[in-house]
């Protein structure tokens, strides 16, 4: 199996493009051609691409339409945010207490941190879930463990009852909504609707935001490359073959002796962990996280990105996520000129969602392969002519237009 095998060409092209993009942005930032906030926007976009990559493995390859994976993304953000906020507050508290002349006792420092962080919700004690917040390694472990265990338990309950299709989608929506409502409460221990803030300030780092934004941009690009290569290896091997078979006809896979539930659980949990890692890179760049990030709509966006990019191909998910989220921040940023229509004015801030919705409907109806399908057209790859028959009996099965001959 050589790297130049046609099967691996898309991965090589993808990595070359991403490398060029990273170098280009870095140079542009060095020469002051792009603002720090724009570098952050690009870094955040790469994290969203990473989440979309996970979504594509889950939905495009395994046929599980989860509409709750942004919950894992946000949980990853919360977990890293706890350490960032704790360590940063600790620095401030220690500095403030040192002004008093006497060195502060650990109890005083702890009390100071708790009051600083939780004063806003009228509490002055650190909740038990903050027990590990003082330690970066422990909190990093929680970035993986908390969303991972949640996905494992949720997935186990759902898959063993053979919940599939739209019912699973609804369950995952309910999960993310329930989590959001829980986190909105002040006594959930994560500052209620205030969320965690000031996450862009790295403790112990004196470099300016212009440097930090580039570090995170590089880290996000590196994470995207590693995940892309890993997932590419998974989907082009026998494992990929099994999950595509599950997507198209899971009953048949069972009779081959594969535990369909085990595979679904594996993929569900793996993608949840990837989303969590993406979130842990995203929120330090965003600077703030609150329960609104777990709103059901966020996870629906994730599915929309993958659909517009073209599900069942990894680069499609990345293209879809990058394009739609960048366009979204452009349109909603108020920088797009409004269009006077005589009887009224078309403000893009208000109409962007309508445009996105229409695009989604059009892609679903007329170009089910999404943007990724354009590459097929250039490569001369056609869909099979099956007179409308899908490639398997299951709900998530590949549609005729999505397949390659």
């Amino acid at each position: 199996m050589t790297l130049l095998h046609p099967r691996h060409r898309s991965a090589l092209v993808f990595i070359a493009c991403l490398a060029l993009f990273t170098i280009g942005v870095t140079l542009a930032a060095q020469f002051g051609l792009v603002s720090t906030s724009f570098v952050k926007t690009l870094g955040k976009t790469l994290c969203l691409c990473l989440a979309a990559l996970a979504m594509d493995l889950l939905w495009g390859y395994a046929g599980i339409l989860s509409l709750g994976h942004m919950a894992f993304f946000a949980l990853g953000g919360y977990m890293i945010g706890m350490w960032l906020m704790y360590a940063r507050t600790e620095e401030i508290v220690v500095a403030a207490l040192a002004n008093g002349g006497l060195p502060a006792t650990p109890e005083e420092v702890l009390q100071g941190i708790a009051t600083q962080i939780f004063g806003v919700v009228g509490a002055s004690d650190l909740p038990a879930i903050w027990s590990f917040a003082h330690s970066l390694p422990l909190q990093l472990a929680l970035v993986v463990a908390v969303p991972g265990v949640l996905a494992l338990v949720f997935g186990w309950l759902a898959f063993r009852s053979r919940v599939t299709g739209v019912y699973l989608s609804i369950l995952t929506q309910a999960m993310t909504l329930a989590l959001a409502l829980y986190l909105f409460q002040n006594d959930s221990g994560l500052r209620g609707n205030n969320g965690l803030s000031g996450l862009q300030n790295l403790p112990g780092v004196t470099a300016g935001q212009d440097a930090v934004s580039l570090w995170f941009f590089w880290a996000s690009a590196a994470a995207l490359v590693v995940a892309y290569l890993g997932l590419h290896a998974i989907v082009s091997g026998k494992f990929g073959s099994v999950i595509r078979a599950i997507r198209d006809d899971e009953a048949r896979v069972r009779f081959l002796g594969y535990s369909v539930e085990g595979y679904k659980l594996f993929v569900f949990t793996l993608t949840a962990v990837i989303c969590a890692l993406a979130g842990a890179l995203y929120y330090p760049q965003a600077g703030i996280i609150n329960p609104a990030e777990l709103a059901p709509i966020a996870s629906i966006y994730l599915a929309v990105w993958v659909a517009i990019g073209g599900r069942g191909r990894l680069y499609g998910a990345v293209i879809g996520a990058a394009l739609v989220s960048l366009l979204s921040s452009w349109f909603t940023g108020g920088r797009v000129p409004s269009i006077p229509l005589g009887f009224g004015t078309l403000h893009w801030v208000d109409w962007w969602l309508v445009l996105l919705g229409l695009t989604f409907v059009c892609v679903t109806l007329f170009a089910p392969k999404g943007i990724g399908g354009l590459f097929d057209r250039f490569a001369g790859v056609h869909s099979p002519d099956r007179k409308g028959a899908a490639l398997g009996p299951d709900q998530g099965a590949l549609m005729e237009q999505e397949a390659k001959q």
Partner: protein
């Protein structure tokens, strides 16, 4: 001779309708058996029970030398224990190549972790090529299964079953939709397979059953009506009344 599969006293009702009624059935380790019967006789339900898709209300199903009960196992576990099933409609993975289809079926560890680190050995590749050639798909390994003809899909599915190396093969109407030449080839293949393992064929087509030249079990209303050679059962007056007599 001890039986490979033993079904005894099995009863299944769907909403009060007894699809299987106190059914008893046994097959040896290297035996070919045809099951015939009118529509609704319980042929498909019988297969569903053996493969774990349907749980019986009462009775026992045991399999293998150690007589393991199949009633507590999941479909996937039963398949791993060595029971392969071929459905009536050809069910291959249409978006995957013939090679991928065969690789999926090839006997190997089935857990996600094992599959993740699985690498195809030279022996695996040789086995895939041999199987494909055996069913006349040797030059179509890189083609998607979806573009194969109906008969070729049936063949691919049979090759996949062989790749699984089951001890017992359940085959549901293999001749459906096949041309005469294909039927003859199928007959030869099934007879050949049954030399080393147990094969149960459910079939409507009496000519096809005659060609198989094996013991026949006639099902009616969820129970065994008659058993023996085809000539023996076709002379049975009850069989003629309930099945053959309908033309």
């Amino acid at each position: 001779m001890s039986a490979l599969l033993e079904v005894s006293g099995v009863t299944v009702s769907f909403d009060g309708f007894r699809a299987i009624n106190n059914l008893t059935f046994a097959i040896g380790a290297a035996e070919l058996r045809a099951i015939i019967g009118p529509n609704g006789a319980g042929k498909s339900t019988f297969m569903d029970i053996v493969t774990g898709k349907t749980r019986p209300d009462s009775g026992s199903v045991t399999f293998g030398e150690k007589s393991v009960s199949l009633l507590k196992l999941s479909e996937a576990q039963i398949a791993r224990a060595g029971i392969g099933r071929k459905f009536q409609r050809p069910t291959v993975f249409e978006d995957q190549t013939v090679r991928e289809n065969l690789t999926l079926a090839l006997k190997a560890a089935r857990s996600p972790w094992a599959v993740l680190v699985w690498r195809k050995s030279a022996a695996d590749e040789a086995r895939i090529v041999t199987l494909a050639e055996q069913v006349g798909l040797g030059d179509r390994l890189e083609q998607k299964a979806g573009i194969l003809s109906h008969g070729q899909k049936q063949w691919l599915e049979i090759a996949m079953l062989l790749a699984q190396e089951p001890k017992l093969l359940l085959v549901d109407e293999p001749a459906a939709g096949m041309t005469l030449a294909e039927r003859e080839k199928t007959t030869e293949l099934l007879v050949d397979i049954a030399k080393t393992r147990a094969v149960v064929v459910v079939e409507h087509d009496m000519d096809f059953v005659r060609r198989l030249n094996c013991k026949v079990t006639v099902l009616h209303e969820g129970a065994v009506l008659a058993e023996g050679s085809l000539d023996h059962v076709t002379k049975n007056q009850t069989v003629i009344d309930v099945y053959l007599g309908r033309g």
